[in-house]
Every structure is written in structure tokens, then in C-alpha cells.
């Protein structure tokens, strides 16, 4: 699998991110690094505790990271969630959070698939 295919799979914009970061190696490095990013866990904790502050910050962070990495779908969904939670707690968060979750799982799955693909190519 190529990195471009990975981006297609997670509904991201590969050309955009490559244009900004200039090097494929950098894009790959940070995409793989995203697997270790803990913001999504913070988001889940914030949502479970209905803690507006934590949930908003986490959604906002995911949005920022996703935007930087060109994960368009994740960027959009987390952006909506962050907007809803910006001022105060809102029950509207839950349906939006499910969209974030779907996008997040898709993103992680695509990156993992790409990572495994790499592992097979370079035994």
C-alpha cells in the first residue's frame, strides 16, 4: 500500500499535506506517530465524565493535529464536535462524537494497514 492509498482510505488529502510538509518521509513519520497520540483517549474520558473543558480541549487538539496531517474527515468531524463544546457542555456532543469515533477508527485502521504493508515489503 502506498501512503497515497492510505490517505484515500482514511478520507484525507494527501496532495495537500505533501505540499505543506514537502517530504513524503515527513508525512509518513507523523502519520505513523499519530498512532501513539493520546488525544482521542482524553476525548473519551472527557465525554464519559461530561467534562466540557477536557472534552473540548481534546476535540480541539484532534482537530488541529488532523488538520496538520491532512486527515480531512477526522478534521471535519472533530471540528464540529469542538464547535459544539466550545462554550459549555452539550448533549449534542454524543452523536457528533460517534462520527469522530468512526473517522478516528477508520484513520487508525488505514495507518495500521499501511504500517503492516510496509512491514511485509521490508522483511
Amino acid at each position: 500500500m502506498t501512503l497515497k492509498q492510505c490517505y484515500d482510505l482514511l478520507e484525507g488529502d494527501y496532495e495537500d499535506v505533501l505540499g505543506r510538509m514537502r517530504k513524503e518521509a515527513l508525512v509518513e513519520k507523523f502519520a505513523l506517530k499519530f498512532l501513539n497520540d493520546s488525544s482521542y483517549e482524553s476525548l473519551q474520558q472527557g465525554l464519559a465524565a461530561k467534562d466540557q473543558q477536557i472534552a473540548f480541549r481534546a476535540a480541539h487538539t484532534i482537530k488541529g493535529v488532523a488538520q496538520n496531517l491532512g486527515f480531512t474527515k477526522l478534521y471535519e468531524t472533530s471540528g464540529h464536535l469542538a464547535d459544539v463544546l466550545r462554550r459549555e457542555w452539550s448533549e449534542e456532543a454524543f452523536p457528533l462524537a460517534r462520527q469522530v469515533e468512526a473517522a478516528y477508527q477508520k484513520t487508525i485502521a488505514a495507518i495500521k494497514a499501511y504500517q503492516e504493508g510496509c512491514a511485509h515489503e521490508k522483511p
Binding site: G19, M21, R22, K29, F30, V65, Q67, L69
Partner: protein, 717 residues
């Protein structure tokens, strides 16, 4: 706090003159430091990746950490990249703090954010942000913005530095000129040469103090500088007074006095006649001072008989300073009067009538006055330099000149470097705000931040300082006073199970004015663990027998003597015993086997004696035992005797005991030892395997004690 350093150095071609200022070795290679403050590690590392080739990157994961880094590096930071949404403290709060602490004008801040609503942007610009970088990051744009901003600020800093240096030079030269000029007068006057300087210093002190008083005049720092500089010129009119009058030892006649008085008008006229600079505040102040520094508050002075506040305050102050210095100095017509008496005379109105507010002001500074004047006379005018620096700092809008800050930074580098060499933990603490600063290397080694706010409640720090050491520290800390601010003591610091010995030296710092209170402390903790352990170990090594771990003969003797000296009334038994046929064991089974027998015997001995009995190995296979008894030592000796011996492998170990009692031979170690030795010899002569008390009749001079050296040598192998 992550700490990365870029490899590539900034091209310095644009800063040719900078070299003069940056005197640090290798300073040509400047790596500008950039702080990236963002709560997302991903976002920080993306930015770091884009910038780390050119810059040294510091990172902070929240606003609080960002402020700590800013506080630590201050103007050494070339740029802050600041996120808005962060935990602990958000970007706007950081900006607010940077404004309060005055960093914002020197350290450029670029906001990194996807928050692009107009209100956000406007608020950020109002708080002093210079630029925005919005997400998603574009490597080229990030680099350009950062480069441009840093370049711009570096140039501004360079200009500030140049300006500061010029002001410094100008101030220095004009002071020098004034000093030379006023010395011309002093020279003719045959005065000490210190009069002008003292009057100026005293004038400045009075001005400063007056400004602090609620009822006093308010002088700006600039006015204080101008008036105290002008005070140096108060007697320039004396240049026109004939030397015969000026230096007449006796009392002046009325006519002579009238001539003398004209120095005020002459001085004023000299200034008035200056073709240029009439509007200069310095000239105006000097005019007032020259003309009216002999007026009296009650109108009884000269030349214009001004009264009360008709006399300019500058002239009033210089008049008082002049009187005080005249009283306390030798003159052709009089001897110096002691400080206290001079103060009293001025207070009592014996040396002129002054503004009562001025007198009370004078009384308030009188105590520190003497010390300050003396210090000034001894040290080569540090005061003047300080004055200049202060003026520089208060000049215009020049916020603490870049040069000063670089000097500070240089000091900090030296401090860190020396600390790194010695491995000491250097620390500095301020009470308000409660903040502990550790030297860079120490912080790194301990895994603590360099700056710790509220250290009393910082768990990471407290983990290094056990409770008992905290108590000791506070006790030592409480014992310091402004007169004795230094303290030192030894203590154990470190994480539990990893404590090490440190020698702690510190000095408390006290406020300079008013009721003294402790503003903080500085000090260092020197790691003395290895040295201390070595000493302990050597002491221990020197006192034991290496093969068996029992005491050796010398230390046993020492301890026995100490015990008998401590309780001379006690009854003691000293026993010497050896192993029967030990030579046979060595010869038959080898020396290693023999050593094992010796070790086993020592272990058996340790098991059957009390903790305060003294046991030692005093010869090849001879042991010594020293114990206290109440009435009859025999049962104890029998018990111990029968616990020893038995089989070691195939060798049957049997012991022979010789015992001497203090009741019989007295409390003398050598006598006890010899007696026990003799008793043992008797037992051996009768075939061994027994114990026997010395009874005073065994007069044989033979000894059973064999040399230990050989056994020790073997024990080492």
C-alpha cells in the same frame, strides 16, 4: 521539558558588530532559541521538525510551563510560538503575564492556531502578538515567518544595544568632565578631593529618601540624577576667591567674609553667562545650587536672604549635605567632628536653619549615611557606575538594555558551567513569589525543572528531601539572621533508598531597607557521599579482622579500655581461647580448610554472646572475649565454652579457655591479657579442652599467642 538543539548555526553576517558585545567563547555561532508552546505533542514535533535545523527548540506543553521557560531564558529566547487552547494556562493568559512582566516588548510571539475568528485575532494583536501562523502548518510559511520575525527583533536588539552603549559613554564622559571641573576648585581649596563626591552622594541619598516619604517632594529618577550631578558644581564660584581668603586658617574678618560670600553669585553668574545650553535642566539645577546653597530657611542666609520654600529644594538639600560634610571633614580652620556629634549639631540647629521636613529626612538616613559614605570612599566609586546603570535602565523606553541582560546571561552561563564541573546542586530561592531555581545541570541530573514554583508543595521536589531533612533545613534556616546569614550542615538527600550525603551551604538574603525580612536564599549542596563513605569504610576496615569479621586486637583493646573507663565499678572477665590442634587442621587439610574452621568458630562465638560483649581475633587461632558479669562469671564462661567446638567436616574442633577477672588482677588491660594468656597456657600444658580462671599463682611467662600476619595474608586471597 524537552530540549533539542539544532546543528546548523545562524548565519551571522548581518551582525558584524555583535562580536564586540558577545564576548562568550564561540559566540559567533548563535543558535537562536525558539519556544514552542502547544499542548499537542504531535503539533509541537511537526513544528520542531520544520525548524530544528536552524534553531534551538524548547518545548512547553501548557501555558504554565511556557511561562517557566520564558522566565528562565528571558531575553535569550528569540521567539515564542504560542498555541491558544492549552490546559493550565491558555495562550491569552500567557500573553497577559508576558505583558505584566514586561517580556512582550522584547520577545516576539507568534500565535499558532486554527482559531481565526476576528475577535481572537484582534485580542491577540492587542496583547502584543506580532504574527499568526494558522493550521494546517505549511513548512515554507512557518520558516519564513519565523526567520523574518527573529531577524527583525535581532536588529532591534542590536540597535538598542548600540544606543545603550552610547548613552553609557555619554553619561560617563559628562560625569568625568564635571568631576574634573569641580576638582579644579577643590585643588585650590586644598580640600581632600572627596568633598564633592560626598556632597553628591549625600544629595542623592536625601533625594531618594525624600521621594519615598509621603510628605516629601516627588523627584523622578531623572531629576535625582540631574540634581545630584549638579551638586558637584556648588562651589565653582570659589575659583574667583583669592587664595589668601580661601585658605586662611583663622577666622575671617567681616570684609574677608563678604568676599567669601560672593562665591555663590560668581558661580551662578558663570553658569548664567554660558553662551549655550541655558535651557538644560542640569544647568538650571546647577544655577540654583550655586547661588542659593548658603541661604537659610529662616531667611538669615546669603546672598539673596531667601526664606522658607523660596529657596529651591535642590539648593536646600545641597546646603545640608555641604554642612554635614564640612563638619565631618578636616579643614584648614578646624578638625573633623565625629558623625554622631555632627548629626546632633545639625538636628539642634547649631549649623544653620533648615527645612524641618529636610531635617527629619536627614535623621532617617543618618544611620546608614556613615557606612555608605565610607563604602564609597573605599571602593573605586561603584556608586557612580550603579547610578549610570540605573539611569540607563530608566532612560526613555529602553527596557532593561539587551547588554545588561546579556551580561546577566553570561553570569548565568558561568554559574552553570562551574556547577556542572563540580557536580554541585546550586539553588536560589525567592520568598515572593515562592520560587526555587536550580542550576541547569543539577535540574537535569535530578530530573526536576530548573524553575519550581511553590517548592514547599512540589511533590517531585519533596521526594528528594526526606521529612527529617526538611525539619533540619527549617531549623537551620530559622537560625540565620541578617548579621549571620550563612549556614552549613550535612544531610542526606535523594529518592528513598537512593539517599546520598550532601554538604549544604547557603546564605539567606534580607531586604535592604525598613524592617528586615528574608527575601530568599542562595546556596549549594555538595555531594560528599563517596568521600564520607570512604572514610567510614576505612575506619571500619581498620578495626576488624578481615577473615572472621570480628574486631582485631588493637580495636578490641581500645574498646575494652573504653568500657572499663566508662564503668570502673563493674566486674569484667577477659577470656582468651584458642583451638586445640589447629596446626593439625592446617597441615592435614590445607590452609583454606583451616580458615573455614576459624570462620565457623567466630560465627559460633557471635551466636552465644550478648550484643555488648566484645569479641576479637587476636592471633592465628586465638580469640579474645570481654564481658561484664554481676556475681559469678563461671556459668557464663562455661556456657560459651561448651557452645564452641564440635565438628567441621572431618575435623574435631576443641577449644581451650584462659580467663582473667578484674576482681583478681584489677582493671588493667595488659594485666588482664597477660593473666588470661597464662591461664590458657596452663590449660594447654595440661592437654587442652578445658577452661581455667587465672588465680594469681601461674607465674609462667610463656605465651600461647601466635602471630596473625600469616593468617591475615591468607584471608585476603
Amino acid at each position: 521539558m524537552l530540549y533539542k538543539s539544532g546543528e546548523v548555526c545562524y548565519d551571522n553576517a548581518d551582525f558584524g558588530e555583535e562580536k564586540e558585545v558577545m564576548f562568550l567563547p564561540g559566540a559567533k555561532k548563535v543558535k537562536y532559541k525558539i519556544l514552542i508552546a502547544d499542548d499537542s505533542e504531535m503539533n509541537r514535533s511537526i513544528l520542531a521538525d520544520m525548524l530544528e535545523n536552524e534553531y534551538e527548540i524548547l518545548e512547553a506543553k501548557n501555558g504554565k510551563q511556557a511561562l517557566e521557560v520564558i522566565q528562565t531564558y528571558q531575553h535569550d529566547l528569540s521567539l515564542v510560538l504560542l498555541d491558544i487552547v492549552m490546559p493550565e494556562m491558555d495562550g491569552f493568559e500567557v500573553l497577559n503575564e508576558m505583558n505584566c512582566r514586561g517580556y512582550i516588548s522584547d520577545i516576539p510571539v507568534i500565535m499558532i492556531s486554527a482559531e481565526s475568528s476576528a475577535s481572537h485575532v484582534e485580542r491577540a494583536y492587542e496583547l502584543g502578538v506580532v504574527d499568526f501562523i494558522s493550521r494546517p502548518f505549511d513548512a515554507l510559511i512557518v520558516r519564513r515567518r519565523v526567520d523574518n520575525t527573529i531577524l527583525l527583533y535581532a536588529k532591534q536588539k542590536k540597535l538598542m544595544d548600540l544606543a545603550a552603549r552610547q548613552i553609557y559613554e555619554k553619561e560617563r564622559q559628562s560625569r568625568l568632565m564635571i568631576e574634573i571641573l569641580s576638582h579644579v576648585v577643590e585643588f585650590r581649596n586644598c580640600e581632600s578631593g572627596l568633598h564633592i563626591r560626598r556632597v553628591r552622594l549625600l544629595t542623592e541619598l536625601l533625594l531618594r529618601h525624600m521621594t519615598k516619604r509621603p510628605d516629601g517632594y516627588r523627584f523622578s529618577l531623572q531629576e535625582i540624577a540631574t540634581i545630584s550631578t549638579a551638586s558637584a558644581l556648588h562651589d565653582i564660584g570659589k575659583i574667583a576667591i583669592p587664595e589668601t581668603i580661601l585658605n586662611k586658617p583663622g577666622r575671617l574678618t567681616d570684609a574677608e567674609f563678604a568676599v567669601m560670600q560672593t562665591h555663590t553669585q560668581i558661580g551662578a553668574k558663570m553658569l548664567d553667562d554660558l553662551p549655550v545650553h541655558q535651557e538644560d535642566p542640569l544647568i538650571k539645577a546647577a544655577y540654583e545650587i550655586c547661588r542659593w546653597h548658603h541661604e537659610r530657611y529662616d531667611g538669615g542666609g546669603y546672598p539673596d536672604k531667601l526664606k522658607g520654600d523660596e529657596i529651591p529644594i535642590s539648593a536646600q538639600i545641597v546646603a545640608l549635605a555641604d554642612v554635614y560634610d564640612a563638619l565631618t571633614s578636616d579643614r584648614v580652620y578646624k578638625k573633623a567632628i565625629p558623625h554622631k556629634m555632627a548629626v546632633q549639631m545639625i538636628q539642634d540647629g547649631k549649623c544653620g536653619i533648615f527645612n524641618p521636613m529636610l531635617i527629619s529626612c536627614f535623621m532617617e538616613v543618618a544611620d546608614t549615611l556613615k557606612v555608605q559614605l565610607e563604602n564609597d570612599a573605599v571602593a573605586e566609586d561603584p556608586h557612580r557606575l550603579r547610578g549610570v546603570v540605573e539611569e540607563l535602565l530608566k532612560r526613555e523606553e529602553l527596557p532593561a538594555s539587551a547588554r545588561t541582560l546579556r551580561l546577566l546571561e553570561h553570569e548565568r552561563m558561568k554559574y552553570d558551567f562551574i556547577a556542572a564541573l563540580t557536580g554541585d546542586i546550586q539553588f536560589e530561592y525567592t520568598t515572593v513569589p515562592s520560587m526555587l531555581t536550580l542550576s541547569y545541570t543539577a535540574a537535569n541530573r535530578l530530573g526536576l525543572p530548573e524553575v519550581i514554583m511553590d517548592p514547599e508543595h512540589n511533590e517531585n521536589l519533596l521526594a528528594f528531601v526526606p521529612q527529617r531533612e526538611r525539619e533540619q533545613f527549617f531549623a537551620v534556616f530559622q537560625s540565620t539572621t541578617p548579621a549571620r546569614p550563612e549556614a552549613k550542615y550535612d544531610c542526606m538527600l535523594g529518592l528513598e533508598g537512593n539517599e546520598r550525603w550532601y554538604h549544604v551551604i547557603f546564605r539567606t538574603i534580607w531586604s535592604e531597607e525598613g524592617p528586615q525580612w528574608c527575601t530568599g536564599l542562595i546556596g549549594k549542596a555538595i555531594d560528599i557521599h563517596d568521600a564520607r563513605m570512604k572514610t567510614n569504610n576505612l575506619e571500619h576496615m581498620a578495626s576488624i579482622d578481615q577473615l572472621t569479621g570480628l574486631l582485631n586486637h588493637a580495636s578490641a583493646k581500645k574498646q575494652v579500655n573504653a568500657r572499663m573507663a566508662e564503668h570502673p565499678a563493674g566486674n569484667y572477665a577477659l577470656a582468651i581461647f584458642d583451638l586445640d590442634h589447629f596446626k593439625l587442621a592446617n597441615d592435614t587439610f590445607g590452609h583454606q580448610f583451616g580458615d573455614q574452621v576459624l570462620i565457623q568458630t567466630a560465627q559460633q562465638l557471635c551466636r552465644c554472646i550478648r550484643s555488648d560483649d566484645i569479641a576479637a581475633r587476636v592471633g592465628g587461632d586465638e580469640y579474645l572475649l570481654f564481658l561484664e558479669y554481676k556475681t559469678d562469671p563461671e556459668p557464663t564462661i562455661r556456657r560459651i565454652f561448651s557452645s564452641l567446638g564440635g565438628k567441621y567436616k572431618d575435623f574435631l574442633v576443641a577449644v581451650s579457655f584462659g580467663v582473667a577477672l578484674t576482681e583478681t588482677v584489677g582493671a588493667d588491660y595488659d594485666a588482664l591479657f597477660q593473666a588470661a594468656d597464662k591461664a590458657l597456657y596452663t590449660v594447654k600444658r595440661n592437654g587442652g579442652g578445658h577452661y581455667r580462671f587465672f588465680d594469681g599463682v601461674m607465674h609462667d611467662t610463656f605465651s600461647v599467642i601466635s602471630p596473625i600476619e600469616e593468617a591475615v595474608e591468607r584471608g585476603k586471597k
